[in-house]
Subunit: 114 residues, 2 copies
DNA sequence: ATCATAATTCGACATATTTCGAAATATAGA
DNA sequence: TCTATATTTCGAAATATGTCGAATTATGAT
């Protein structure tokens, strides 16, 4: 159904990326807001610049950039330059895929229904 | 509904624990199998000993023990000694909680439905 | 009590990560 | 072209992690 299919090593890379409090905070901000390709696209685009994502995190710009790069390398976020700024967002399908990793297998659900 | 409520730092600890390929493989084995407090309890208990969890991972017992401890400390797995062996398992509620972290917020889902 | 098996603790070492500041790059606007 | 702003790259330092082997602890069996 989706074009996301990861092996254990790739998934570990993703979770490792989420395993840093700063990166997780950034990721969570992106999850909590809207995503491109959706109705709220134009409303929120300016809120997703690299600079904004670092607000309140108290880290150097170079550190922020490094973390964003890690999230991007792990395949968790998308980035695109738009003029002077770089915009970041999450693809909803990616989120679905991540969540499904924690789903109890179908047949176990069957057997476990008491 | 559930008694799991984690802040960003605690969640980052969880994802960090899952961010190692060996630990993720171990965790995945536990997810893919049944859990205590369920019908399949007695069938599978012997499959969850520490020793079995390390099968095929090609790591020293001390390393395996270390990884299990990390998963346990992060709150991802449960451990209980049963005779000579130590059994490991995952609480289904924990899994639900982890998965829900990646759920697109309700009102965003509304707005994004095109 | 002794032995064998399962698992953990400890200490050590190599490697990886986080973080920063300084310098470099990209781009819009005067 | 020059300037200001946004972001990235680079190099260095401190800290954390993954791994092992040796020693230790826990438990059941002889």
């Amino acid at each position: 159904m989706s074009n996301y299919d990861f092996n254990i090593r790739e998934r570990a890379e993703m979770f490792k990326a989420l395993g840093n409090p700063h990166r997780l905070a950034i990721f969570h901000r992106l999850v909590a807001c809207c995503m491109p390709g959706t109705l709220c696209d134009t409303d929120c685009v300016e809120r997703f610049t690299v600079g904004r994502l670092g607000d309140g995190l108290d880290i150097a710009p170079s550190t922020l950039s490094h973390h964003l790069k890690e999230l991007n390398r792990a395949g968790l976020i998308e980035m695109r330059r738009n003029g002077k700024m770089v915009e970041c967002w999450i693809e909803p399908d990616m989120l679905d895929n991540l969540g499904s990793f924690f789903a109890i297998p179908r047949d176990e659900l069957m057997r476990n229904t008491k």
